[in-house]
Symmetry: C2
Subunit: 336 residues, 2 copies
């Protein structure tokens, strides 16, 4: 075991923060002292780690010089407020909030573009992409040598947990109200999400694109090192608690050999590929797993240059926490 490192987990009371702490223990990450932090409002809770319950403290006034590495898994605003100061204090930062621009915090997926880390100097500051971009990159990167892709068209069906624990509670509450035939008053979301699909997630720009869509596209382009790849993305909020479900259509310049695609996916790290007439689901496959599942790899109905895929992944675990911990493992491996 390598020398241990003191760590801060910001947003430890959230779903992703909890999964981070779990994975640090599970993967026997060489954690020295573990500081669990959250905003003032969320501090005070307890999170289990190695048989003890650790109290979540307030980030306000925390001295990041005490730790060698900090995961930021709270909101974007928290990252924007504290991440640069943490780095300035000598602490490497892995952001999971998407709160920093790509040039300030490059997006890295452990299986796809770990070489980015070698171009940086400690203390590091970089980010794990949005969960859907991480899952997509894990599946698409191994296909890059096979297909001269020209355009991706993505419909990302995001679970309510993408909006935090309040999203999860609200879907449960709405569903129970409806099943008991009680009148429904949406609270956390602006309308009914139970037994319904919301075709717009979060804030929307003047060009009509949601911020999550723009991020998905930008993160994916950076991780795949494909800055001008055309990507159409629509993010939809679905009445699912956990797990991203992604419908992807790739358009290539040349016919795509499905056998080669299947073989490349079978050999890819962190990918579990099903046959073309099989499909994974978040409930039966992805939840709690550190793999991205892909099925239904098929050409277009009469277009061999088209490749369609159905991808599912645990948005909290694989799409966020697992990637971040893998990145941390890479960091300590390359420590001076």
């Amino acid at each position: 075991m390598s020398q241990s490192i003191d760590i801060a987990v910001v947003g430890a009371s959230g779903a992703v923060g909890g999964a981070l702490v779990e994975l640090l223990e599970e993967r026997q990450f060489p954690v020295g002292k573990l500081h669990l932090l959250a905003s003032e409002a969320s501090a005070g809770q307890s999170v289990p780690f190695k048989g003890r319950n650790l109290r979540v403290g307030s980030i306000a006034g925390f001295d990041f010089a005490q730790v060698g590495l900090a995961f930021f898994a709270a909101g974007e605003a928290v990252t924007r407020q504290y991440a640069s100061a943490a780095q300035a204090a000598g602490c490497s930062v892995i952001d999971l909030s998407g709160g920093l621009p790509l040039d300030q915090a490059p997006r890295v997926v452990a299986e796809v573009n770990p070489q980015v880390l070698k171009t940086m100097q400690p203390p590091y500051l970089f980010a794990s992409p949005t969960s859907a971009a991480t899952a997509l990159a894990v599946v698409l990167a191994p296909l890059r040598p096979l297909l001269d892709w020209q355009r991706l068209s993505i419909t990302a069906c995001l679970p309510v947990s993408s909006q935090g624990r309040e999203g999860v509670a609200e879907l449960a509450r709405q569903t129970a109200e409806l099943l008991n035939a009680r009148p429904l008053e949406p609270r956390f979301f602006d309308r009914q999400v139970a037994f319904n699909l919301l075709g717009l997630v979060g804030a929307v720009g003047t060009d009509g694109h949601a911020q999550v869509e723009r991020r998905l596209i930008e993160d994916l382009r950076q991780v795949l090192d494909a800055p001008v790849l055309k990507v159409a993305a629509t993010c939809v909020l679905v009445p699912v608690f956990f797990g991203d479900s992604l419908s992807v259509s790739v358009q290539a310049a040349k016919p795509i050999d499905l056998h080669a695609v299947q073989a490349a996916l079978e050999g890819a790290a962190s990918v579990e590929v099903l046959e073309k007439d099989e499909y994974p689901t978040v409930i039966t496959d992805a939840i709690g797993q550190d793999l991205v599942f892909v099925g239904r790899a098929r050409n277009g109905v009469d277009d061999p240059t088209e490749l369609n895929l159905w991808i599912v992944s645990d948005n909290v675990r694989k799409g966020a926490a697992h990637n971040a911990v893998q990145l941390a493992e890479l960091l300590i491996k390359h420590r001076p």
Copy 2:
């Protein structure tokens, strides 16, 4: 009121059959005698029509020479068994099951390609497309003059009612079991559909495409009179009871003028268009309506030749029954 016509509704005990009967009354269709029919197993139920409860009889042995028009809204097998014989008996047939090939039963959407009817001779035999194709055609046809489309990429999120009343009952049952923390044994679907997305709907071909996907593409091409248009389609079963939700990306040869798109949709029949930062949902907009709702009309993030749309429509009412009754209205208008 024009001269009345005797009518048979096959599949009258199903959701679409019920909606057909409702619309015939609501739109004051000149119905003479109304025969409600179903397979032996579903016969015997009652369906209300103009203040009376009509008994659903068995299709076996029914003499279609008694009626001038028959709607086939039962399964494909029923259509394949009886539709040709009905036509041979002098009865015009409007199929809603998709059970007949396109050359035998051309797909017609009232707002889009009604001219097809003029090329035919009575007794007619034609079909209303799959509900998603109907909704897509209603929205896309008015855009045809504006954009030189090259490719459509569609993710169609289909409700459990697309699989009939048993699909509706199964989602309700599964949801109640899960909310009550009882162990779930999927029955009607092969796995959990509550709080989950099934990335493959119904039967799948050796090429990996589901039959519903192939139909969606073929129906859409025929209705839009675009036989070689490239269409990528993925159909997903979602935990929603009623209403299709469609994520569409159009790729055109030239930049697409969003103002012209918005204006064309505002002037289109049976379309309700929202602003580009607004989105309709099946629950809040589409259910029970005879309109197709579209929102989020936006270009690509940095590609003016791309147009993205979010479309919702009542799969039972607008996508099936309403179109079929509109087609019937066209037929009697052109009666000799």
